[in-house]
């Protein structure tokens, strides 16, 4: 390489001072991003009869399906939220997407995870859940300070669905994502959509 080029590059690409405004911008984003968490929903006394009726209706529906010999549809999204409310230890501790995918594949579940380098997502690990005779894989990860879960199970005989917001079906499998922060339900999507 020519000396003149070395000289020019060293001179014109020299480090510079960051503008003072940078810290203010970061602070503003941090304050906006870390807003107060929503208070836990307080259910008043008057709501209890409604909740009881809804529970009874759900139970009756399930019994009716069982009587017809059909499995009730597995609500993966609901299950994902439950897993985050009462998390159990993961069986595989790993932040390696390839290792987690391979582990899930051995359980008969096909999940391809992209590299998380340079994103807010950090993989924690994976575990298997048995629910109503169905094997469900849970991939747990964090997005910033929040915990998130991706659940995957072999789909039933229903039609292939499009990509719903938090639950979808693809290639014979059902998927659902959930976040521990109810105020940021899109956050778990960063696992596969880094540019959201």
């Amino acid at each position: 390489m020519s000396d003149w080029l070395d000289l020019q590059l060293s001179h014109h690409l020299a480090p510079v001072e960051a503008p003072e405004a940078l810290w203010d911008r970061i602070q503003r984003s941090t304050v906006r991003g870390a807003g107060p968490r929503p208070e836990t929903l307080r259910v008043g006394f008057s709501a209890w009869p409604i909740a009881a009726i809804l529970t009874l209706m759900a139970a009756a529906g399930t019994l009716w399906l069982v009587a017809k010999g059909e499995e009730p549809a597995l609500d993966l999204r609901q299950l994902a939220l439950e897993q985050l409310r009462n998390p159990e230890a993961v069986e595989l501790h790993s932040s390696d997407p390839a290792r987690i995918s391979a582990w899930m594949r051995r359980a008969g579940l096909n999940v391809t995870l992209p590299s998380q380098r340079g994103t807010l997502v950090r993989l924690v690990g994976a575990r298997l859940i048995e629910k109503g005779g169905v094997r469900i894989g849970e991939i747990r990860y964090t997005v910033g300070r929040d915990t998130a879960a991706l659940l995957v199970a072999r789909a039933g005989s229903g039609p292939e669905g499009g990509h719903g917001h938090y639950a979808w079906r693809s290639q014979g499998q059902s998927f659902a994502v959930a976040s521990s922060d109810a105020e940021r339900p899109d956050e778990p999507c960063l696992l596969c959509h880094a540019n959201l």
């Binding site: 020519s2 960051a18 970061i26 380098r117 910033g144 540019n195």
Partner: protein, 189 residues
């Protein structure tokens, strides 16, 4: 952790969520982060966005830092990824201005000032036209003065790859800047 005394304490304080420590860490790295973002993007406004993005990632993920590498390497990786993830690529050309040659005939200090400004723009435009991979090794080498080994660690590639990318970058830059230098009679600005 691969950290020197004060920096280790600072990182640990950040990991505990101490607000003052975040500010101190920002002060320690702001110029390095912003310089890479600016030299890579070539635009101050975009560099601010990239630097902001880098620090937000740094603050939100600092608890994940386990000290497997030097903390500075970890920070460099964050800013490199912010830059490379940014899809927008500027391909602005700096036209050869006829006025420039008129000004080149101006005497003394004003001539030097014009040449300095013009050369800076030429270098910036030439670097901007490099592919992101070549541009990043150039910026890490010349803005941060990192060694081939350090660049390889930051980019997660071999030292040979770094050498090859720098060699290609040098050739491309030489091609693009040689004309301007010969116009000036190989005068260094």
């Amino acid at each position: 952790m691969v950290l020197e005394g004060t920096e280790r304490e600072l990182v640990e304080a950040c990991q505990r969520g101490e607000r003052d420590a975040f500010r101190a860490l920002f002060e320690a790295y702001k110029d390095r982060v912003y310089s890479i973002a600016l030299r890579f993007s070539g635009e101050p406004a975009l560099a601010m966005d990239l630097a902001q993005d880098t620090f937000l990632k740094l603050f939100s993920c600092i608890r994940e830092f386990r000290g497997d590498s030097a903390f500075s390497t970890w920070v460099y990786r964050l800013v490199v990824n912010s830059c490379l993830d940014h899809k927008r690529r500027a391909w602005r050309l700096i036209p050869i201005a006829d006025e420039l040659f008129a000004v080149l005939r101006a005497p003394g200090d004003s001539l030097n000032a014009v040449l300095e400004t013009e050369m800076r723009e030429r270098v910036r435009a030439a670097v901007e036209k490099l592919s992101p991979d070549l541009r990043m090794v150039t910026v890490l080498r010349y803005t941060e003065g990192l060694s081939y080994d350090q660049i390889a660690e930051v980019l997660g590639c071999s030292k040979g790859t770094v050498a090859s990318r720098l060699n290609r970058a040098h050739k491309a830059l030489e091609r693009r800047l040689a004309h301007f230098v010969s116009t000036q009679g190989a005068r260094h600005v």
